[in-house]
């Protein structure tokens, strides 16, 4: 097995390619809420022929692309404060409805970023303890309410510490609801037996992914490289 320092130098998927892999998880017709950051990129890579219905906690359903430069309207934003384009078929609603849709089980998939994910499916994504203050925003409601939670994130943090951990040390967003983790080196599924390594980034081995992961991984019999 390669040593840690050289593993951390090894090429990984960039953010867009990671988003492309996550986009493959979106079935045709799904109602999807995309978090800020890599999750937002997912909408750009949905496979042709599949149509999704996008939900934003800012109170918009059925939004399309971002607004063209010069056409930004402060009365039409997504949850990240980005400006959306006025497209036919949108519906607007107030914040209590926006979250009733989530908790009520009307949103099929929530794609969220993470600071840490535990092997039990716990998610921590709202506060870095060293900052001492954090933004919950809609993350707790999404994580508690959407039918399926997909996490997209880098596999290790800036210091090289694993973000897939046995127990989250950061304040939790939700317990036990993450079902799939797509990182820049691996695709991991939560199973009753534990975390299952299903795919690795091109050039990576199961041992190398394990070396950058805290909990013991189960390896899928059909483990293969991520293909798009």
């Amino acid at each position: 097995m390669a040593d840690m320092a050289s593993l951390l130098e090894k090429p990984r998927l960039d953010r867009d390619t990671l988003a492309m892999r996550a986009a493959l998880e979106m079935p045709d017709g799904a109602v999807v809420n995309l978090g800020i950051g890599i999750p937002t990129l997912v909408s750009q890579y949905v496979p042709e022929g599949r149509q999704l219905l996008y939900h934003s906690e800012s109170g918009v359903l059925g939004y399309g692309p971002m607004a063209d430069p010069g056409q930004e309207d402060m009365d039409l934003i997504n949850a990240g404060g980005q400006f959306l384009k006025w497209v036919p078929g949108m519906a607007f609603f107030h914040s209590a409805d926006a979250f009733a849709m989530m908790r009520g089980g009307h949103v099929d998939i929530s794609v969220l970023g993470a600071l840490q994910v535990s092997e039990k499916g716990d998610l921590a994504n709202w506060m870095l303890p060293e900052r001492g203050i954090g933004n919950i925003g809609g993350a707790m409601d999404l994580a508690a309410g959407a039918k399926r939670i997909i996490v997209t994130m880098e596999h290790v943090d800036k210091k090289g510490h694993p973000k897939v951990v046995r127990e989250c040390s950061y304040p939790l967003t939700v317990r036990g609801r993450v079902s799939l983790v797509v990182t820049d080196i691996a695709v991991l599924a939560m199973t009753p037996q534990g975390l299952l390594l299903k795919e690795v980034a091109p050039g990576w081995t199961a041992d190398e992914v394990q070396a950058l992961t805290e909990p013991r991984l189960l390896v899928a019999p059909d483990l293969h490289e991520i293909t798009l």
């Binding site: 934003i77 404060g81 607007f92």
Partner: protein, 258 residues
């Protein structure tokens, strides 16, 4: 309740806001949906000891959230940086980027302001409950996390839920796209968000409306906030220069824009 709720100017609209009042302030994060003239006028009046309930603790001016290029507007930060606010209840209190330190974050680190951080959907539902006369409700959101600490929990259908209490306020500062003189309201796009919920849950709901029409001028099938929830409607001037952030900073003196 008078049937014509139009108040001619902002000073009259906020004249009874008192020291120690609680105020709902809409705005998802940026200037959209925010009643900037009401906020500016309240700042001019100088009331203090306020509790603000809002999605953020004021990130639009500092972090540029939801601000189209070159058009930054004031937000409730102007009340915070001048020491008028003792407590904030918010879901997204600070800028996402830690290097963008907002007036709230500065005051919080100096121990000058209290914060209650609430999940966004729980915040919306607490306000909805407040307006609907529901005392409290159980939600799965936040179960097993810091926000459930010290709260009653119970398993419902095998899942842990947290008891959350309704939230009301003395005043709501609401921004509507159109109002009729009776106070029926419609909003625009994502700027409806907390406005339509907050309007229902304050003892006095004050609306800053971009356009005011006669009664009958709004399609009754499309009214979002019925006038029963509204106490005052003030026309927002077409010229919004006074509430641009640069104008505010020029007015408060040499203080550098953060």
């Amino acid at each position: 309740m008078p049937l014509d709720k139009v108040v001619p100017d902002f000073r009259q609209a906020v004249a009874d806001v008192f020291d120690g009042a609680s105020i709902f302030v809409d705005g998802f994060g940026g200037p959209g949906g925010m009643a900037q003239f009401l906020l500016l006028t309240l700042w001019e009046r100088g009331v203090k000891g306020l509790t603000l309930i809002s999605n953020t603790a004021g990130i639009g001016m500092t972090a540029g959230f939801g601000v189209p290029g070159g058009r930054a507007y004031i937000d409730h930060s102007i009340l915070i940086e001048n020491g008028r606010v003792k407590k904030i209840i918010a879901s997204f209190p600070v800028a996402g980027n830690p290097s963008r330190v907002t007036p709230f974050e500065r005051a919080f680190r100096q121990g000058k302001i209290e914060l209650e951080v609430v999940p966004q959907g729980t915040l919306a539902e607490r306000i909805r409950a407040g307006g609907a006369g529901i005392g409290a409700f159980y939600t799965p959101t936040g179960a097993g996390t810091l926000v459930a600490q010290g709260k009653e929990t119970r398993a419902i259908n095998g899942r842990e839920h947290v008891l959350e209490y309704a939230l009301t306020a003395d005043f709501a500062f609401v921004r509507a796209a159109r109002a009729d003189r009776a106070g029926n309201l419609v909003y625009k796009g994502s700027s409806r968000n907390f406005n339509a919920v907050m309007a229902t849950a304050a003892r006095v709901t004050i609306v800053e409306a971009d356009e005011i029409v006669e009664v009958g001028g709004l399609d009754p099938e499309c009214i979002i906030t019925p006038c029963i929830y509204v106490d005052r409607v003030v026309p927002r001037p077409k010229d919004d220069t006074p509430v641009l952030a640069e104008t505010y900073y020029a007015r408060v003196g040499a203080r550098a824009k953060p």
